[in-house]
């Protein structure tokens, strides 16, 4: 009825190839942006930002990054935690070495450093595939964590081996450190998320994304039709690692403020982000958001319902939380193996025909 192509005429090629060809979708997208940028900042407090929005936004960037590599290019990676650590330590070194340079620059540079490291660890992907590549990236995960623990230069020789983000401001407003305002850090991360999502979406729709998908679907066939596997795979590793590095940088500098590499960027983090894209949907930008939301928000929601709402003991609630989240993951994957993004796609198909399905 209201969700349809009919009556929405594209008169230019530009209009024809836009991200959201359906008018309703487009307006919904603008509405989400307006709510996110203009309304939510006024409603925030410390709890909402630190427990819900920051982790959701930052994990979304990480999931977008991993989705480019795994979902679009088909290269399984278990090194996400390690690459996030590269982003975090790169920002730390940059922000302590050049305090006068803007945080935006530092975070982008940290993404660049991570992209470089990602390409290095992506080199084996030219020879090995599937499970074997997963093991090679797993090596990256353990190596990077070990490196940041072992070499004191990375944590500026601090006694505890931790890195702490000092206060930095943007336009005079603190965005890292302890004296931040909830709306400021939220908007700072939101800008990164929005740009990441738009860039990733357009990359995956363009020639580069098609090459990645060709490699994913069948690399030999892709090579025969003229896709260079070297550039396609390494560009996927570079761009994916860039986003993962940015998310690691934000995770450390804006969200946590102090990081201990073994605990924060351990193998668990790699699995968490991998689960996000599997549950959200491989090869979908929306899926990255949906997966991040599912795995960040559900535990917090369950905890609040069980402990604050029902007053159950915290240990019982913590165990139940594991069981419920695990159970829901299995249910989701049985009902819809292609993730939440596929549910969304099916819903849109249904909407298109509604109210007269044939």
């Amino acid at each position: 009825m209201f969700y349809r192509e009919a009556g929405d005429f594209s008169t230019t090629y530009r209009e024809d190839s836009q991200t959201f060809p359906i008018k309703f979708d487009r307006y919904r997208y603008y509405a989400v942006l307006i709510i996110a940028f203009a309304i939510i900042p006024f409603l925030l407090n410390d709890y909402w930002v630190n427990a819900i929005f920051l982790p959701f936004l930052i994990y979304s960037i990480a999931a977008i990054g991993l989705n480019i590599l795994t979902g679009y290019c088909g290269q399984v990676s278990l090194g996400t935690g390690g690459f996030m650590a590269v982003g975090a330590y790169a920002t730390y070194k940059l922000m302590t070495a050049f305090p006068e340079v803007s945080m935006v620059v530092h975070i982008l540079l940290a993404g660049g450093v991570t992209a470089f490291v990602g390409v290095l660890f992506g080199l084996p992907s030219l020879r090995i595939k599937g499970f074997y590549l997963a093991v090679a990236t797993l090596a990256a995960q353990f190596f990077l964590v070990w490196l940041f623990n072992r070499v004191p230069w990375f944590y500026n020789y601090s006694a505890s081996g931790q890195i702490n983000s000092p206060e930095r401001t943007l336009f005079g407003i603190p965005i890292t450190g302890a004296n931040t305002e909830p709306w400021a850090v939220y908007l700072f991360c939101l800008v990164f998320v929005t740009i990441s999502a738009v860039v990733a979406r357009n990359l995956t729709r363009g020639a580069m994304g098609r090459k990645w998908m060709a490699i994913r679907d069948m690399d030999i066939a892709a090579e025969i039709i003229g896709v260079n596997p070297l550039t396609a795979k390494l560009s996927a590793f570079a761009i994916s690692s860039f986003f993962v590095g940015v998310s690691g940088a934000l995770f450390f500098s804006v969200y946590l403020g102090a990081v201990e590499v073994g605990e924060v960027f351990g193998i668990n983090k790699s699995f968490l982000v991998l689960f996000m894209i599997i549950i959200g949907g491989l090869g979908s930008i929306f899926g990255s958001f949906a997966g991040a939301a599912f795995l960040v928000l559900l535990p917090v929601l369950l905890k609040n319902v069980l402990v604050t709402g029902l007053g159950w003991p915290t240990d019982l609630a913590a165990h139940l939380e594991f069981m419920i989240v695990g159970f829901l993951i299995i249910v989701f994957l049985i009902v819809e193996p292609h993730g939440i993004a596929q549910l969304w796609r099916v819903a849109k198909e249904k909407l298109r025909l509604w109210p007269f399905p044939h």
Binding site: Y47, A178, L256, G257, E260, N304, T308
Partner: protein, 427 residues
């Protein structure tokens, strides 16, 4: 319907509405995960003491007590979530029982003006209260522990450990790395050789570290372990037949849960302690009468009198005594978060007061001041006897070597002050 669901979801994310007519404390505990075996007894002792005050005395100074428990699983992200979720409820003091979470909370709690009491863990240089105004780590900290550990080695070697080899088996995290600087400085002073053996989280795999100990035969092994790492290390030491009396853990590696799995062979294992490790105190009769027998005990109620239970109880006792002090200073019973910091800063634990509380001789007497947030650092050595299944203190409580520690504290707190543009002041 949709609206109802939405509001239910929003209510789910929001914490409960604040109730300000009582004294609110937090318990960032962990009863799950790789550190749960140590987290549970501590949390039980901590909560039971508050329950005791509530049931026996009706609270503190006439105000009833509310404790909000929040499960962190020893995970910093969950710890931050717990802090943010509870701080709006007027929580007077936080004790996260995790050095990692402490490092997260120091800047946040400083900005929010809430007291942090990290008893025997956390950032050691918080002893310098001129810079860490709201962070307290009395009665002892890691550097005191490292120093007294070495002093104990000096004692049993007639004051000379030159040329001896001392290994440190440590949890590869901020917690385990804390004593390294002090041990390095002390090795310069006393001439022993230090060997560092990190164990990665969670610590179930320590074969290579203990193989190295077997090969290099250090004269003494010190351990900074926590959670599942402790019983594994003690078992490995037993397996390589390392002489247990030369194996000394920090106070976090010295509970019943750590030594029991290794059986009889663990006899002789030593651990540092900054309070009594037995349960022969009048307060336990009250705990039994008012808490356990009335079915109000936290957890399963089976941990009463164990080392970590005692430590949790001791922590709660120090916090509530600080709250009493704060009530006295503020001249009202319903104290604010700022009052609580003043209470901590003026806290004085005398032997007479400990006696009154039914804890005579349980811990050292000390007083806190703005310059010294860390107490006197009195530490003793306890030893495990597997036959009697009991820990007992085998040395005197002795003070740490401040000539080595004080410069380190000044240096580390100075670095924090420089990073955060703070200047030391006590006003």
């Amino acid at each position: 319907m949709k609206k109802k669901l939405l509001s239910a979801v929003i209510a789910g994310f929001m914490a409960a509405t604040p109730v300000m007519a009582e004294l609110t404390f937090s318990a960032l505990s962990y009863r799950t995960g790789a550190y749960g075996n140590n987290g549970i007894p501590f949390a039980d002792g901590y909560l039971d003491y508050f329950t005791l005050l509530q049931e026996r005395d009706g609270g503190i100074g006439g105000e009833s007590i509310r404790v909000i428990e929040c499960e962190t699983a020893y995970n910093t992200e969950k710890g931050v979530e717990c802090y943010e979720a509870t701080k709006g409820e007027g929580v007077l003091s936080y004790s996260p029982l995790s050095t990692g979470i402490t490092y997260q909370l120091i800047p946040k709690a400083t900005a929010d003006g809430i007291a942090l009491h990290t008893m025997g863990y956390g950032r050691t240089s918080a002893k310098n209260g001129q810079i860490f105004r709201n962070v307290f780590n009395f009665p002892a900290n890691y550097w005191d522990g490292a120093s007294v550990g070495i002093k104990h080695l000096l004692d049993i070697n007639n004051g000379d450990i030159k040329g001896k080899k001392v290994a440190l088996v440590y949890h590869n995290s901020a917690y385990g790395k804390e004593p390294i600087r002090t041990l390095e400085e002390l090795s310069k002073k006393h001439g022993y050789e230090l060997m560092l053996l990190p164990v990665d989280h969670p610590g179930q795999e320590q074969k290579s570290q203990w193989l190295q100990i077997r090969r290099e035969k250090p004269d003494y092994v010190l351990m900074w372990g926590w959670g599942v790492m402790n019983p594994v290390a003690i078992q490995e030491a037993v397996n390589i037949r390392y002489p247990m009396e030369n194996f000394i853990g920090v106070w976090w590696s010295g509970s019943e849960n750590d030594v029991l799995p290794a059986g009889d062979k663990a006899t002789g294992y030593k651990a540092l302690a900054f309070h009594a490790v037995n349960s022969d105190f009048p307060i336990f009769d009250d705990i039994k009468k008012y808490v356990v027998d009335t079915g109000k005990a936290a957890g399963a109620g089976d941990q009463v009198g164990t080392v970590l239970y005692n430590r949790g109880m001791y922590n709660a006792m120090l916090i509530t005594e600080a709250a009493r002090k704060a009530q006295e200073i503020a001249g009202k019973s319903n104290i604010s978060q700022a009052d609580m910091i003043k209470g901590f800063e003026a806290l004085e634990m005398t032997d007479a007061r400990m006696e009154e509380l039914g804890l005579g001789g349980f811990g050292p007497s000390f007083s806190v001041s703005c310059e010294n947030h860390g107490g006197d650092g009195m530490v003793a050595v306890a030893q495990w006897d597997a036959g009697a299944a009991k820990w007992s203190i085998v040395s005197d409580f002795q003070a740490s070597d401040m000539s080595v520690i004080q410069p380190l504290i000044d240096e580390d707190s100075g670095a924090f002050a420089a990073e955060n543009n703070l200047s030391p002041n006590c006003s």
